[in-house]
């Protein structure tokens, strides 16, 4: 079976807004979506800033359908809103253009934010400082009282995919992958495989996440993975710049409609791009670090290129994982060098995490959307805040200003904690 997979719709909820075109223009201008954290009081945290989604109201996106989904978590709400925009932009209505059993969902969505205030209250009530032990009886009394069944349930990472299935009557294959920061690239790659092999005709795919909550920021601060440049937060995300000091947490969602090529043509859908290759590997090295030689990252890019049947010389632009951490940026640059050889320095590489921050599970999906827009407009979004080159990062990072370029074939990387590597190759639609 040799079915082709095309992208026919896109939607996103990002720290720079929710409208595809408006956000795209802000990215090309180099705007920063980073500001002080307002979701909770982070003033005493090592990191006090993040790239939050502001002024978001799910009702604005779902209209009459809002009531059925009003209990969903923050990240599932982002996913639903993005899916609504994507579905509409693909030209689907709620009519029966496609067999519902052949419409699936594959997300890389995170868990919903923990109900922190109530959780903390129960924890404090249950902790016995004298015994240095948790009194589960006392804990349970408070937890029963304060925690809510639906709110707890909605934290499950499969809920966003469930809500989307319900909203669009998608009775086909329904999966959620949670491979940390690689999740939504993984979801999109796997979803394209589902269509290719005939398990579905249409896939609603992408990812969503929000870890801007008290324990999320705590976890990353303890790992010393976040930038702590509290006095220069707007320019704190500095992928590939030698002064970078960690990533900036973002939140949001990106959803794309993937569709079998013949079906898309038949219903006259506008084809935005074609997914031609996908590769997934594990470093299988260390829980805490990427493989020093970039083994898994290199293999993922090579696998995606082989899957696409293209050569490294065919790649016109690389949307980097580019987190603004020393380890990622160095090893990703090394891996690109290994895959592209002497040509590596001539392939433009950029990271929109410099503006969006890092959407964790949702990152790969919003980045793939930027790839599609870059192909469409023949313009590469910049890596902003790039002022001081790092000798360990010797590539062309499209610093600070967008660049016009004819883009036919583009590669997008996502790497997750624990050594999870995923790469997608997309190509311009046929003229």
């Amino acid at each position: 079976m040799n079915r082709r997979v095309v992208i026919t719709g896109m939607g996103w909820v990002t720290p720079l807004g929710t409208e595809i075109e408006a956000v795209w223009q802000r990215l090309l201008k180099g705007d920063s979506g980073i500001n002080l954290i307002t979701i909770f009081d982070a003033r005493t945290y090592p990191t006090t800033f993040a790239a939050e989604v502001t002024d978001f109201n799910l009702r604005d996106f779902l209209g009459d359908h809002h009531a059925a989904h009003q209990t969903c978590s923050r990240n599932a709400g982002f996913a639903l809103a993005a899916a609504e925009m994507a579905w509409r932009s693909a030209g689907f209505t709620n009519g029966s253009q496609v067999d519902p059993e052949m419409v699936g969902v594959y997300l890389g969505a995170g868990e919903g934010p923990i109900d922190f205030d109530n959780f903390a209250a129960a924890a404090l009530a249950g902790w016995d400082p004298e015994e240095r032990n948790l009194n589960t009886k006392r804990w349970a009394e408070v937890a029963y009282e304060r925690l809510d069944a639906v709110r707890e349930f909605e934290q499950d990472p499969n809920c966003a995919a469930g809500h989307i299935a319900c909203r669009f009557n998608a009775q086909g294959p329904n999966l959620n992958t949670l491979t940390a920061c690689a999740a939504s690239t993984q979801a999109l790659g796997e979803a394209s495989r589902l269509i290719r092999r005939g398990d579905a005709d249409v896939m609603i795919s992408g990812g969503a996440h929000s870890m801007i909550h008290p324990l999320g920021v705590t976890g990353f601060n303890r790992l010393t993975a976040l930038s702590e440049r509290n006095d220069e937060f707007a320019s704190a995300s500095r992928p590939f710049d030698v002064t970078r000091d960690g990533f900036v947490l973002g939140e949001g969602a990106g959803i794309l409609i993937l569709e079998e090529y013949e079906l898309a043509k038949q219903r006259g859908a506008k084809i935005l791009a074609e997914i031609i290759g996908y590769g997934s590997t594990a470093d299988a090295f260390r829980v805490t670090d990427m493989h020093e030689g970039g083994r898994g990252a290199t293999a993922a890019m090579q696998a995606a290129l082989a899957d696409a049947g293209v050569e490294p010389s065919d790649i016109d632009y690389i949307s980097a994982h580019g987190t603004s951490t020393e380890e990622n940026d160095k090893i990703e640059s090394l891996a690109i060098g290994q895959v592209f050889g002497e040509r590596a320095r001539n392939v433009p590489v950029s990271s929109v995490k410099s503006m969006f921050g890092h959407l964790i599970a949702g990152a790969g999906a919003v980045e793939l959307i930027t790839c599609v827009l870059a192909i469409r407009d023949g313009i590469i979004p910049p890596t902003t805040n790039y002022k001081h080159p790092d000798p360990n990062c010797p590539l062309d990072y499209v610093p600070n200003k967008p660049r016009q370029a004819m883009l036919k074939t583009v590669l997008s990387n996502s790497f997750g904690f624990g050594g999870q590597n995923d790469t997608i190759v997309v190509r311009a639609p046929e003229a």
Binding site: T44, A123, E154, G162, H163, A165, N174, T281, G416
Partner: protein, 446 residues
Amino acid sequence: MSERRVVITGLGPVTPIGIGTESFWAALLEGRSGIRQIETFDPSRFDSRIAGAVEDAKVADYVPKSYRKASKIMARDIVLAVIAAHQAATDAGLKTKCLIDRGEADGEPNIDSRRFGANIGAGLICADLHELAEALATAGVDGTFSMAKWGNEGMNTLTPLWLLKFLPNMLACHVTIVHQAYGPSNTITCGEASSHLAIGEAFRTIAGNTADVCICGGAESKLSPMALMRQSLGKRLSQRNDTPETAVRPFAADRDGSAVSEGGGLVILESLDHAKKRGARIYAELVGFGASNDAHSPGQPSQPHPEGRGVAVAMKKALRDAGLTPGDISLAAAAAAGLREHDLSEAKAFQTVFGERVSELPVMSIKGAVGNNGAGSGAIDFIAAILALYHRTIPSTINSQSPDPACGLRVVTNGPIDANIEAAISTSYALGGGQNAALVIRRYAE
């Protein structure tokens, strides 16, 4: 549609009734239950105080010496997966790095790391409540949590690697490190459907020639105060606290819920060529996979589709994929967790797919013995189905002597019975979220 044939060559169950194929199968044949009163913490304030614990599960016994240190950053879910991986690889006769380093396999690896993939289902791993409560308590001011104090000092009482214990992909991460699997890797988080989806996707990965061998399945622990609380709030649990061993009653008229448990299972899937080349024992051939969503009621934790629509769609797809008809199936291994509405919904799906023949079709569920651990439950169910087919024996579905006529199924309660099973179907569904998946296996023949 599968390009290459895929067979099952290794099983690694880690369950409340036994670790490893032999003890697990022996317990199933004896009809033993692993559900007990909870002893690992004081459950007295919970409505449901019973659970299935995996005993003697120490990770150091299953990893190379050099890796023991890493157990400090393993949540219980990860420990269960690492043990399951050891069991599955051993059972398959794979010579992975782990088994060679432990002196349990001789010579060189008999598998190319680059063609060795992983797809492991995981749950929303609950943070260790004891550890987190102790840390949060340091930020208390007059009994109330102070975010300011937490940010300033409290958070520093958590170990720097704290977050890494609880990321769902850490199951696959540790397993791939220990066994040196560099190939396609994935982590599916779809509640109780996770294992089936992970195994089904791994099946496709091998069939589509992106890997030769995959370690796949799932693991989770719901034996913790937080997980028990979440299940209690969702009203999913049996309250037969005085009779834990007979509390969970799949498809029975008097079922009143499930019991939390811990466990998991990983299986080794392999391309037929690869298995033959190394002379592996073949338990069964994996021939069909189907997945679906109810598209019915997210946000309603306890309400499945009333007609079992999604489960039926998944089964129909899996049968079509296998090129089989319902009449070819001689065993159904149901997910049946013992919940009132969910069991009925699943039973209706069987009625839809099998029609009148449903009253003849032997059905089994092992939940009375192992409870519900979440993401690892499906893999344990699937392993039980594989063993039943391989040994031509259907174990009893314990605690279900009084079948619910509304379910209308032929639940095997007088087992173990001899049964020449040619093909079997194994079903799963998430208790919330609407995900469903089914797998079809067939007795291996050239």
